[in-house]
Amino acid sequence: MLRIGSGAGFSGDRLEPAVELAEKGKLDYLVLECLAERTIALAQKRKKSDAAMGYDPLLEKRIRSLLPVLKQNNVRLITNMGAANPLGGAKKIIEIADELGLHVKVAAVTGDDVLPYILKKCDSLEFKPRLSENVSILSANAYMGASTIVPAIETGADVIITGRVADPSLFLAPMIHHFGWSTSDYELMGKGTVIGHLLECGGQLTGGFFADPGKKDVGGLAHLGFPLAEVQPDGSALLTKLPGTGGALTLRTVKEQLLYEVMDPSSYITPDVIADFTTVSLREDGNDRIVVTGGSGKERPSELKVSIGYDAGFLGEGEITYAGENAVGRAELAGAVIQERLQDCYEELTVDYIGITSAHRGSFSYEGIPYEVRLRVAGKTYEREKAKRIGEEVEALYTNGPAGGGGARKYLNEVIGIVSAMVPMDIVEAELQVMEVKPNGA
C-alpha cells in the first residue's frame, strides 16, 4: 500500500492543509500541484529579468513550513513548483534546508522547455487556436509524463521538483516506482491516472468548491482538510482525509471532481496513457471514505502537447458601484457615457453590470431589481497607456458621471495568451540533476 497526499491544487492554494497532511497523514509522498497553463509564461518573464527566478513565487514559503515536517515524518515531496526554472527552485530548496540545518537531497527534472524548437518550427506547426502572425511567443513547455519523474524518485531524493508535467503524472510516478508497474501496462496507467486526476486539485475533492448552503452542506469548510489516497498494488484506492479536519469526501464530491475539466471521459489524454473514466466505480466505505476501483487505459499518444504562452497585450478595467433607488438606471447611464467617451479607441469594449449581467451574460434573471449594481468596463489593447485609460475614465465618473457612484477601482494587467501544439515525443529529453546539503559537521 502507498499513501499519497495532495497538498495544493493551484499555485495560490492555502498552505496549512499540506503541513497538516505531512504531519499526521502517515504519508509516503506529498504532492503539490501548483502550475496552471498561464503560470509558466509569467514565470518565464520573471526568469528573463532575473535568471535565478522563474520558480513558483510561493515556493519559499511552502518549503520553509513543510521541509522540517516532511523530514521528521519521512515524507517525500513531489511538486511542479519548478515552473520555468526547476533548477533555480531546487537551489532555493537546498538554500532553505541549509538554513534550517536539515539534510536534504533534491532532484530537479528539466527538459519540458521546448521554446527553441517551437520558435524554429513556428511556421510548420499547427497551433490551436490559431496564432496570428507577429505575436511574440514567451514560453513553450511540453507536458512531460510520469516516466520522466520516476528516475528522480529512484535517486532517493527527499524533494522532486519539476517544470511542466501533466498533473496526474505527479501522482502516477510514485505509484510506478513503488509498485514496480510497467509504464506500458496501460490498464494500470489508466487506474493510476484516475487517482491522480481525482487528487490533483487538493480541496476540490474534499468539499471545497462544492458547498451550497441548504442544498449541499459541507461542515467545517473554514478548516477544509485536503485528500489523501491509500493506493493498492492493483490500482484501486481508498480516498480519505484526516480525522478532525473540515470538509466532506462523499460520492458527490468525488463525482464532481472525476468529471472536472474532462472533455471525453472515455479518452482522457495524458503523456502516460489515454485513460478511460467510464469504467470507474465509486463506493462509500464509511464517513469521508470513498473506494475507487476500475478505470482503464489505452496506449499513450505518440505526440506530446506543448503549451505556448504569447504576449497578448494589456487588459484595462474599471469598476464603480451604484446603490439605492434607480441604481440600475444610473449604472446604465454611466456605462453609456463611458462607451461614448471611449468609442473608436478599442476594438472591443466589454461593459458588464455586476449583479445583473457580468457572470452569465444576461441569460437569466430573477424577479426584483437589485438594490446595488457595479459597472465594470474592460478592454484589451497592445498599448499600455491605452489600456490604462479605461480605468481612468471609470474613475472619472466620480465627478463626470451620474449621481452617487462610489468605490471606483482601476486595474491594469498584462495578458498572456495560451495556445497549444503537438510535437513528436522524441524531441523532448528529460534531464535530471541532484543536489544535496548536509548540516555542518554531519
Binding site: 458527490r252 472536472y260 471521459p265 441569460s363 484589451k380 495578458v415
Partner: protein, 103 residues
C-alpha cells in the same frame, strides 16, 4: 411537473481554452435515466445560447450516474485572454442548473 435542474442535480464547471465542461450529477442516482432522456445536448445548446457560441457534445457516464456537457466557444476566448468577469467560467455550472425539465 416542471422542475429546475438545481433541485434535482449538482454540477461543476471546468475549462480548457475556450471550451467549457459542465457535469450534471443527479442527487438521486435513480434520476439519471430521466435526466438522460430530457437534458439533451440540443436542449443545453438552446438553454445556453447567449453563452455558448459553438457546439455542445454530451457524454454519458452510467457508471457514476452522471452526464458531461462539453461546450465549444463558451469562454470569450478562454481564461487567459477573456475580457469577461468570470474568465474561467467557474460560475457557469449554475447557468446549467437554471434549466427546467418536465418530469
Amino acid at each position: 411537473m416542471v422542475r429546475k435542474l438545481y433541485e434535482l442535480a449538482h454540477s461543476r464547471a471546468g475549462d480548457k481554452g475556450d471550451v467549457l465542461m459542465l457535469s450534471l450529477i443527479p442527487y438521486e442516482e435513480g434520476m439519471y435515466e430521466a435526466l438522460r432522456e430530457r437534458v439533451t445536448a440540443d436542449r443545453v445548446e438552446l438553454h445556453l445560447k447567449h453563452i455558448v457560441k459553438g457546439e455542445v457534445t454530451r457524454y454519458e457516464m452510467p457508471n457514476i450516474a452522471a452526464l458531461q456537457f462539453v461546450c465549444q466557444g463558451a469562454l470569450l476566448g478562454g481564461v487567459t485572454t477573456s475580457p469577461g468577469m468570470d474568465t474561467h467560467g467557474k460560475t457557469l455550472s449554475y447557468a446549467l442548473l437554471e434549466m427546467e425539465v418536465d418530469l
